[in-house]
Symmetry: C2
Subunit: 430 residues, 2 copies
């Protein structure tokens, strides 16, 4: 039974990408995950480790023996260590640094000068470059070597490493070998300052329609590059994190994160939500006397709350996208509010009529029917307004509306809905 | 006043990408949007039109005169017309086809052979290729011409156009000009069958770590390629559509879509939601007698519903991601259910205790406090189970759980929560 398993592991290593094996491993509960892990060769373990989520890495590090851990950090390159650095203890980091090549260690130091929000921290060091004092032949030789993917230009620098321009590799094809590079017309490079915000840099790379953009330090010296793959991966990661965090989960949670850790992560969000739920309850409590006399109000409360919540989150979703694209400004906000209000009026009138009729048939009470119609109409209008205003204000406060917008919005519509419904009920039905 | 506006338009055209101008235009209400549009040159209008959302295009087409419309479809290439085809009337499509170059028309016909879900429909026709009977010099000349972005290989074909292999452009640099291509070792190409599912093809391109993959027809003949940009754009679009649709919006809705159209799109979702809300109400109605006697139950109902909804959607979010990554299978589903149940037990015990205490302090009733604790614990457990099962079943039924999972889940937790809470209340409090 031992042999086929090993063969399976070799088969996996030769056919699957490390990132897919990382996803695969995370689909296993802890015990079988460790057995599978043990079957992988140590080089491959390193690749897979780099692709795992933080929590899965932690799990491995705490379970593996010291020696097995250390072999994971042999011959890491700078980019890899930077990715892991948050998860590692100081002595593991130190060990990894001592095991690096001199060049990678220099790159690592370079990147560490920048914060997590700066492109310098995210750049890769696989750019190809050549001093301008050389000839075309030298450039051809450098380019002809095996390159990282998405390499279609060679950067030209002066003697101090300052970036002067770039030459597309295909342009080199028809140039004579002995032509000095100083005589070659360089293409202008779209540079990224290493201290530039990573989110903006990512957009720059994507909209440049180039394979990669050069990263330069404050002296204009070439330090690395940011390629299209890295840019899109970063963006995907941000979207995924937002989605996960908006449910109150930790972005690092995997399917088999420890029960304790998962419970802790999720408890916080449940607690916040409990506060808003009790707030709504408190408002309902103000109308206890009314509820006692007209119990139908209690029966219909969920309808009022839910119609407001849904129409609010429709507006919210549209506005969050508009904010992310930069489409919503002081200049057009009023027009957007007006448009959403008009949509609210149409849907409010439609559904308050429908709900009013259903209520009349169900409870045979004109007043109850009028009460719920008014509450629904009002709540849908309030939802339309809040759907624009809540994310707008959060955005102004530099809070990501995608994370907390929905909770705040439904709190608003719940509370308004209950007050409107029970308030009208008190006036009309008692 | 006229002159500066025109200058502004020229400035916009020279500095912004068409896709950004499309986003910009969609940030304007209809009237100023049309004035801005009129300022753009007709070539640029075409580029921008290609980048717009369907609804914005429709709006333009219905507002512009016939002549202005037709100029939008002069000299389109095959890929552009394919993108527009859903939005155009038959006579506009015919006009656009007659205005195409012969080559583009051929490409257009080729792509039309495939459906929207096949990569053949999405391929671009900017691949570079060379027959194997020629020499290296010819390949160099082709490559040296200005290329589309993300072009780093030249495809080699036989006389019938069958794809034999590829040569990386940088490898050509050091090859002698008079070497026949038949003597060059070709690299193996990772091909995409034109009839392959576009979603899978996109994943192939992204995980290939190449700039683009070749697309071949059923005879193995090269027909085009799918590049990294196109692949990531497609994926981003899918994610965005999912987000928008999960709120019951049309994926094409822009900020200033017509009020009527927006209202219609959103009404459907509100209607579906209304059914589920009335279903919950109906279950509450079964306990009318209980509510009449213990009105505190009505006051606390939102707390029970909301705690179940939130913990359910935490599990749901994690499971939807796991399903999308292919991490959840028949083999590990049971282990996942067990893990989520354990998390549910921990958070259920924690929060039912907290809520029980708060209720005791608020209403000074041990029985009410026990009632709500039991209901919360039960509802959080049911939410954990449904959070796994609802998306799992939807996925088996080929329904995207990201679109309707949340509605179904909260319906389940609402109804279970109300029954548990009011049921326990009836038993313990009456």
């Amino acid at each position: 039974n031992e042999l086929p398993l090993n063969e399976l592991a070799r088969e996996i290593e030769s056919t699957l990408l490390a990132e897919h094996v990382a996803i695969l491993l995370e689909a296993f509960p802890i015990k079988p995950r460790l057995s599978l892990w043990a079957l992988l060769s140590s080089d491959y373990q390193q690749d897979v480790f780099l692709e795992m989520k933080n929590e899965s890495r932690q799990m491995l590090l705490t379970t593996l023996g010291d020696e097995a851990c250390f072999t994971l950090f042999d011959k890491l390159d700078a980019n890899s260590l930077l990715e892991l650095i948050e998860d590692l203890s100081d002595n593991l980091i130190e060990y990894a640094i001592t095991q690096m090549t001199v060049k990678q260690r220099a790159n690592f130091k370079k990147a560490q000068d920048y914060s997590d929000s700066e492109v310098g921290r995210w750049q890769s060091f696989d750019d190809i470059k050549i001093p301008q004092k050389l000839k075309v032949l030298a450039a051809k030789k450098i380019c002809a070597k095996e390159q990282s993917p998405l390499t279609d230009v060679i950067y030209v620098t002066d003697n101090q490493g300052k970036l002067l321009g770039e030459i597309a590799i295909n342009r080199l094809l028809t140039m004579p070998d002995d032509k000095p590079l100083v005589e070659v017309t360089l293409e202008e490079v779209q540079k990224l300052e290493a201290s530039k915000d990573i989110d903006e840099a990512v957009e720059d790379v994507i909209s440049s329609y180039k394979s990669a953009l050069a990263v330069v330090d404050e002296n204009g010296c070439l330090t690395g590059r940011l390629d299209l793959h890295a840019a899109y991966k970063y963006k995907e990661q941000q979207t995924d994190n937002q989605l996960i965090q908006s449910a109150g989960l930790s972005e690092e949670e995997d399917l088999f994160s420890s029960v304790w850790l998962s419970s802790k992560n999720r408890a916080v969000w449940l607690g916040i939500n409990l506060l808003t739920a009790f707030l709504a309850s408190w408002f309902i409590g103000l109308f206890e006397a009314t509820l006692q006399q007209v119990v139908a109000l209690a029966v219909l409360m969920p309808v009022v709350a839910s119609m407001g919540g849904i129409s609010g989150s429709q507006t919210l979703t549209l506005i969050i996208r508009g904010l992310a694209l930069g489409q919503i400004t002081d200049a057009n906000r009023h027009a957007i509010v007006m448009k959403e209000l008009k949509v609210g009026v149409i849907n409010g009138l439609l559904w308050s009529t429908v709900i009013g009729l259903i209520t009349f048939v169900w409870f045979d009470s004109t007043m109850l029917s009028i009460t719920i119609s008014l509450a629904i109409l009002g709540n849908i209008l309030v939802a339309s307004l809040s759907g624009v205003w809540v994310p707008w204000v959060l955005n102004k406060l530099n809070i990501d509306p995608a994370l907390s917008g929905a909770v705040i919005l439904t709190t608003v519509t719940d509370i308004f809905g209950f007050i409107a419904f029970l308030g009208c009920g008190t006036l009309l039905l008692l």
